[in-house]
């Protein structure tokens, strides 16, 4: 990666991404995804959590060509393709937004806040956007 990498840093860390923003309005959701995919390419242990407005990224039947953007829903499928297996969705965030599992792009692991708390505590690094 870097020529600075000569010292004895760990080769693998546990990195958690909290994707907390709705798609399209701002690019936070896109940036979060790009960072996670990069970590997966370099074989890090990646956790990906959809929280708050981030769950709107998972709504099915997105068609962003209407606003000249790439459909983020399609891009999210790449998370699994890149080997990111621990993808979870905060159930409270869905409930607060009247979203049900059947409204989503696919099947996701629904989790509660205490599980997310535990996840970020045991991670080496957390990106939250």
């Amino acid at each position: 990666m870097s020529d600075k990498a000569a010292n004895n840093a760990p080769l693998k860390k546990s990195i958690t991404f909290i994707s907390r923003s709705a798609p399209y309005g701002r690019d936070n959701s896109q940036l979060c995804l790009e960072m996670a995919l990069a970590c997966a390419v370099f074989e890090q242990n990646v956790n990906y959590v959809f929280l708050d407005d981030g769950v709107y990224q998972l709504v099915g039947a997105q068609n962003a060509s209407a606003i000249d953007a790439k459909t983020l829903g399609n891009a999210l499928e790449t998370l699994e393709l890149y080997g990111i297996e621990n993808i979870c969705v905060d159930e409270d965030s869905l409930n607060q937004r009247n979203l049900m599992a059947k409204d989503l792009l696919g099947e996701f692991k629904l989790v509660n806040r205490s599980l997310i708390t535990a996840l970020i505590r045991q991670s080496d690094c957390v990106f939250n956007l």
Binding site: R20, L51, D52, D92, R113, I116, T117, I120, R121, Q122, S123, D124, C125, V126, N128, L129
Partner: protein, 96 residues
Amino acid sequence: MTILHTISRSPSSALLASCASLLASGDAVLFIEDGIYHCSDNKALSAIEALVKLYVLREDLMARGMLGKNLADAEIVGYDAFVELCCEYDKVVSWF
């Protein structure tokens, strides 16, 4: 592993509620930028101040004329302490 959370948006952002739901005993919250306005309302913070330590950045209070209006039980700190807190806690989670 303990966590320092930083919150940099005003109370209308609702970031505090999300952050609070992920706090664990031993963590801390540092209010910076527009986040300092959380500290003028001690009711909003009373739910978490028993669980975690609260800090607020002096420079951002001063800039906004809020230095004397820190009603919450938040300790006023400068940039030196901001860096020290980042070292003291095992990681930093930023809410913006």
